[in-house]
């Protein structure tokens, strides 16, 4: 299954070569051009006719993770987080490290040894370490170097009614959507499928990719927070799982173009695809950087709702995933027929 392959591939920000290879292999034969730029973005191109608007589809390949910062004399590894990770989810998680994919466990002082005050506080990443079963620093150094990346080891699984669980669904689910579209679409307009790097550390890859492509429209496919759990009120849920792809009207880096939003709503209505709005204006996506590239590039974000985002066990619904593919395909077809609304 494509999503399983994408979710389980390694690719912390700045270390995207594994996931990039997976995507490149997947798309061989389906696109006209495929290249990697200086920052590591994978840029694929499906030719189209002249005088049609150039569309850039974009999803980021990178995931949040850890970086090894030192190795102590007993062979334990200290680390820093890369991208937005909640320190409280780290303890006891299994990770893989570096090119050798060496296994490790994130360890902490046992509960028996903690003072009463210590037990009340959540452990910070600086209080934690990774145990790779090494006897000593020298032993550890055979497998791990300072600067190596680590990522959650978590198998992708289907469960419940149409749900799936895995690491890095932000934004491998978006990569999956892009791949499916690039494989299937019978396009007249030129399409760039861009898999960006370093989104989680500051929307970096998209800025340079958009600069070189300079498209007429960018569609960013993301995974976004679904906080539809426990007793959270609807207006604080951000998005709700199984209620369809989410449109963003604003976030910290972005304001939507109303005409494009209206156009997409119309597309969804005419094809009976359920959509929802993202009900929070926090966070940022590649669209924020793309829309401010060069003289300004109209950009839109379509997101798959994702519970427990940035953890080893993020959850999406396959219904939302498939509807996102359908919505983007239908919208591209609409542009082919009717042009851009702006």
């Amino acid at each position: 299954m494509l999503l399983k392959k994408l979710s389980e591939a390694a690719g912390v920000s700045g270390f995207e070569n594994h996931i990039r290879n997976v995507i490149r292999e997947e798309l061989k034969g389906y696109v006209d051009e495929i290249k990697t730029d200086a920052l590591g973005n994978l840029i694929t191109y499906k030719k189209g006719k002249k005088n049609y608007p150039i569309v850039m589809l974009c999803a980021h390949m990178d995931e949040v993770g850890l970086m090894i910062t030192s190795i102590d004399k007993d062979g334990f590894l200290k680390f820093k987080t890369v991208g937005g990770i909640d320190d409280r989810i780290l303890v006891s998680k299994v990770v893989e490290i570096g090119e050798t994919r060496c296994n490790g466990v994130i360890g902490a002082k046992a509960i028996h040894l903690q003072e009463a005050e210590e037990r009340k506080k959540a452990l910070k990443s600086k209080d934690l370490f990774i145990d790779i079963g090494a006897k000593s620093r020298e032993d550890a150094e055979k497998k791990v170097k300072i600067g190596d990346y680590a990522w959650f080891k978590s198998s992708f699984e289907l469960f419940g009614y149409n749900f799936c669980k895995g690491k890095a669904l932000d934004d491998r689910a978006g990569c999956g959507v892009l791949i499916e579209i690039l494989k299937n679409i019978n396009n007249i307009l030129p399409i760039y499928g861009v898999f960006t790097v370093q989104e989680e550390v500051g929307l970096r890859g998209s800025a340079v990719a958009a600069y070189s492509i300079n498209p007429d429209l960018a569609i960013v496919i993301e995974a976004t927070t679904a906080n539809d759990v426990a007793e959270v009120e609807e207006h604080q849920q951000v998005t709700t799982i199984n209620k369809g792809p989410a449109l963003s009207v604003m976030d910290m880096t972005y304001l939507a173009n109303k005409l494009i939003i209206k156009d997409i709503i119309k597309t969804a209505e005419s094809r009976n695809i359920d959509i929802q709005f993202k009900r929070s204006t926090l966070g940022g996506t590649d669209a924020g950087r793309i829309q401010l590239t060069k003289e300004g590039i109209p950009s839109v974000i379509i997101s798959i709702p994702c519970r427990y985002i940035h953890t080893p066990s993020s959850i999406i619904s396959l219904k939302d995933y498939n509807n996102t593919i359908k919505l983007v395909e239908c919208y591209i077809n609409k542009i082919q027929k009717e042009g851009l609304p702006i």
Binding site: E234, H235, Q236, L247, V249, M250, T253, L255, A256, N257, K258, I261, F277, K278, R279, S280, T281, Q291, L292, K294, E295, G296, I297, P298, I342
Partner: protein
């Protein structure tokens, strides 16, 4: 000029929704410029042609506001802020949407004012339920303060003086300068300044000027127990030294100071310890663009009742006009 200030400040235009205000500005200037265009993000770019320096002058059209994020069963709207809006300014306010719908702000029951957070508040458009509300408003619609312009003779109170007053200074300068400058001047009415200097970034990229000047409001230190700041209402336009977005280029700064002194225009120097302006974005565009700022001192910024001094506006216009003519 007061009629123009009234007209522009009472117009709707939060970030990303600059259609109405752009239309009004366009009407004001179209007979006075050589070229007029709107770019991808919505910036209005007006050109006065010339053979000299390429100068970009920016004032932002957008104002702070609120954006609807969800509509509940009973027809109340939840919202987020657009730009720097404080919960405390919002209590009891009326706001207006682009389609003219007027609404008020309410809050859930609070034990203390410390609990007053955006997600405890809601917009009441007087709808009886979700269905009726959805016929009036869509998610993503934005509202701005609903307030009248008040003329206190020497001083003016209005919403959105940040930065419609800058727009007014640009418009008046376009009219005053006539054919007296040899420079090629790009008057840019920018979008989305309040959410991150965005319009200035893309417009500066396309224009690629030799010099950038922004006209915007700045804070003052002249009210009871204010944060210490050596800027006062009525002491003339402020020539910016720095804020959090820019260290103004000495060439531009000194040119503004010399122009003020030569023409006996009162001015003050401004060191702002927070905030940013379009010049910040312009200055780091492409290979770097020497940039400066003329600021209009303004009290109670981002509230529905911002206050400025009318003489400062007249003097800012004079300073900008003279500076543009004399830049070589």
């Amino acid at each position: 000029m007061k009629q123009l200030i009234k007209k522009l400040t009472e117009t709707y235009g939060p970030s990303g929704n600059e259609h109405n205000i752009r239309k009004k500005i366009k009407e004001e200037i179209q007979d006075y410029v050589d070229e007029l265009r709107v770019d991808n993000l919505g910036n209005l770019i007006a050109v006065k042609k010339g053979n000299g320096k390429k100068i970009m002058v920016a004032a932002h059209m957008d104002e702070v506001g609120l954006i609807v994020t969800s509509i509940d069963e009973k027809g109340f709207l939840r919202f987020s802020k657009v730009g720097g809006v404080s919960e405390f300014y919002l209590l009891g306010q009326r706001v207006i949407f682009e389609n003219g719908i007027i609404a008020t702000l309410g809050t859930e029951k609070l034990e203390s004012m410390k609990e007053l957070k955006m997600d405890k508040m809601f917009i009441d458009i007087g709808a009886k339920d979700k269905k009726e509300a959805e016929q009036m408003i869509s998610i993503g619609d934005q509202a701005c303060y609903y307030r009248e312009f008040s003329d206190l003779n020497k001083r003016i109170i209005a919403k959105a003086l940040d930065d419609r007053i800058g727009c007014c200074v640009l418009i008046q300068t376009i009219k005053d300068i006539g054919q007296s400058s040899n420079n090629e001047i790009y008057f840019v009415f920018t979008v989305q300044e309040e959410v991150g200097l965005r319009g200035a970034k893309t417009s500066a990229f396309s224009i690629n000027p030799d010099i950038g000047i922004a006209v915007d409001v700045t804070a003052t230190g002249d009210t009871p127990k204010a944060k210490t700041m050596a800027v006062e209402l009525g002491k003339g336009p402020a020539i910016k030294i720095k804020d959090n977005s820019i260290l103004c280029h000495p060439k531009v700064r000194n040119h503004l100071i010399q122009t003020a002194e030569k023409n006996n225009i009162p001015y003050q120097l401004e060191v702002l310890e927070f905030g940013g302006t379009d010049s910040g974005a312009i200055s780091v565009t492409k290979e770097g663009i020497p940039s400066g700022v003329i600021s209009i001192p303004c009290r109670y910024i981002h509230t529905p009742s911002e206050m400025i001094d009318y003489d400062d506006v007249l003097n800012a216009t004079k300073l900008l006009t003279e500076a543009l003519i004399s830049f070589e």
